[in-house]
């Protein structure tokens, strides 16, 4: 039995990049949601959470509209990089991001909200700027929960199928991720390959979730 391991590496690469982006952007949104009062705050939260509940095909459609070759963003991308964004592994990153981002924001918001307000107040009366307060007090206090949120986001980005298929396609050796490779294997009656891939991705996801749970338990 020959198994092509490219989909596994591609999935891991996509997950790493999308998790990094989710953390970089999601932490700030989560921090603002947890700490600031403004109009439309819960609407923003709902908008961020939406991808969790929409069908993957809807997300894929939105992405195509947003970054497809006819869209302004898609055209700009082509201008700058000389090739289209869609049907590349970078589009797969976008699709994965859409799924991991809400998970990260949700758990990070909960983590920030769990910090006792008096620590932040104390830091402020001691003259700490908001920046220093975040990096020296809040972030260290929620370190473990944030890592756990990142792990959860990572596990989720490993598993996207529908949106990835729509914006990145199924190009073996280029955009074929684990989930898509499994689908292909089943469709082409290659049960043995499908079984191995399924077991591998299940094991990875299980390991990550166990790790995330232990982080959260430790932080209590």
């Amino acid at each position: 039995m020959h198994i092509d391991w490219f989909p596994l590496w591609l999935s891991l690469r996509v997950a790493v990049v999308s998790t990094a982006i989710a953390i970089a952007a999601g932490l700030w949104i989560a921090y603002i949601l947890a700490n600031r009062e403004f109009r439309g705050k819960e609407a923003l939260d709902a908008a961020v959470t939406l991808p969790l509940v929409l069908p993957p095909t809807v997300l894929g459609y939105y992405l195509l509209v947003l970054v497809g070759r006819a869209s302004p963003i898609g055209r700009l991308w082509e201008e700058i990089f000389g090739s289209p964004l869609v049907f590349t592994w970078k589009a797969a990153v976008l699709a994965a991001l859409l799924h991991s981002f809400p998970l990260l924001v949700k758990s990070a918001r909960a983590a920030f909200e769990s910090v006792d307000r008096s620590y932040e107040r104390a830091a402020r009366t001691l003259g700490a700027s908001e920046w220093r307060l975040f990096w020296r007090v809040t972030a260290p206090l929620v370190r473990r929960q944030i890592f756990a949120a990142g792990a959860l986001a990572f596990a989720r980005s490993l598993g996207d199928f529908g949106a990835t298929l729509m914006v990145a396609g199924d190009i073996p050796g280029s955009t074929q991720t684990m989930a898509i490779a499994i689908y292909d294997a089943v469709e082409s009656n290659n049960g043995a390959v499908a079984r191995v891939l399924v077991l591998v991705i299940s094991a990875i996801a299980l390991a990550i979730l166990t790790f995330a749970n232990r982080l959260v338990l430790k932080s209590r």
């Binding site: 107040r121 104390a122 700027s129």
Partner: protein, 356 residues
């Protein structure tokens, strides 16, 4: 000196009634105690000074700096107010050692000064043994001392303490009062302390603000407030009085005397300015001011025969509860000498009678 005049309204919500904080007071260097029941706005007052909440109206003046002024829109962030704040749970950063907690407060200062200040505080607050450990690894007393040291290390111009002795056992409380006394003499800043413990007000407070439902209902030295509560509300808040319904039967300013009827008995009292004959009032007298004695024949002047209902043991003596809600504190020896007698008289000393 700090001068606070703030007003803040929280509109009523389905699950809670509205609340309005409306206070004005000045505090000089020394300890000013904010006394009142939970939900009377004590902590909210501290938070308005520290800058955690923005009042709707008024101004907060610290020395000659405006911290908050609604009219001109000034609302300095907590970082620029120079208020030392000791939180109820101390709020020591759990991921830092005690030394790092202190360093955090002076990080902006030059290195040498930083080092000197931290060491000075560690010595002054006897934290040498605990400095390298985290808050959860040290004793309650060390945590408490460190939180006060951290609030003071940046030389604040006012020290705010939110129920610092809540949930402490007696020895730690005693230690805290000792520390606060030293802080009071060493750092000549106003100290505002929130409590709902009247004993604490007497132990440490030079001035006392009695708060109820968002307002200051009386202010002054604790002793003075206990001697003459401004009204029935204050008397009830202090909770240390016999409050007996009474009626003024006679008033004579010339002889500085009055007659007050309580139940079926008439008592002699001092003249009560501002009252009229026939006024229905509350007689307000503390249990330790009354005397309980044996009944031999007819009651003398200002003695009322009463029926003993209950004997309550207290650390400092015995409290006798008589019919009609009259409480009298007597010493243990006094009680033991008379405990077999059937009939009691309670004597109301003429000059200690107060009415509200």
């Amino acid at each position: 000196m700090i001068h606070v005049r703030v007003r803040k309204t929280f509109p009523a919500k389905p699950d809670s009634g509205g609340f309005t904080l409306d206070v004005e007071f000045k505090a000089e260097p020394g300890v000013t105690v904010l006394f009142g029941p939970s939900g009377s706005g004590k902590t909210l007052t501290l938070d308005s000074i520290a800058g955690f909440v923005r009042p709707d109206e008024g101004r907060v003046l610290l020395d000659d700096q405006i911290l908050f002024d609604a009219a001109s829109g000034v609302h300095l962030p907590p970082q620029r107010r120079h208020c030392g704040y000791v939180f109820q749970n101390y709020a020591l950063f759990p991921h830092m050692t005690l030394r790092q907690n202190l360093e955090f407060a002076v990080e902006q200062r030059p290195r040498l000064e930083r080092h000197r200040r931290v060491n000075e505080m560690i010595e002054r607050f006897r934290l040498q043994d605990a400095a390298g450990r985290r808050p959860h690894e040290v004793s309650g007393g060390q945590r408490q001392r460190c939180s006060i040291a951290r609030a003071l290390i940046g030389s604040p111009r006012v020290l705010l303490l939110d129920e610092p002795t809540q949930g402490l056992d007696a020895p730690l409380r005693g230690e805290f009062y000792e520390i606060l006394e030293r802080v009071r003499t060493d750092f000549k800043t106003p100290i505002l302390l929130v409590t709902h413990d009247l004993d604490e007000c007497f132990e440490i407070g030079e001035e006392m603000l009695v708060m109820r439902a968002g307002r200051i209902v009386q202010s002054g030295a604790p002793r003075k407030i206990l001697d003459q509560p401004a009204n029935l509300d204050v008397a009830r808040l202090l909770g240390r009085f016999n409050l007996l319904a009474a009626e003024i039967r006679a008033l004579d300013p010339g002889r500085n005397s009055s007659r007050v009827q309580v139940g079926e008995y008439e008592l002699d009292g001092p003249y009560f300015p501002g009252h009229l004959r026939g006024d229905r009032v509350m007689l307000c007298v503390r249990p330790e001011q009354l005397r309980a004695c044996a009944r031999n024949g007819r009651p003398a002047a200002n003695q009322i025969p009463v029926e003993l209902k209950r004997v309550i043991e207290k650390p400092e003596g015995v409290r006798l509860e008589f019919a009609g809600g009259i409480h009298v504190d007597v010493s243990r020896a006094e009680y033991e000498a008379r405990q077999d007698q059937r009939e009691w008289l309670v004597e109301f000393p003429r000059d200690l009678l107060r009415i509200l």
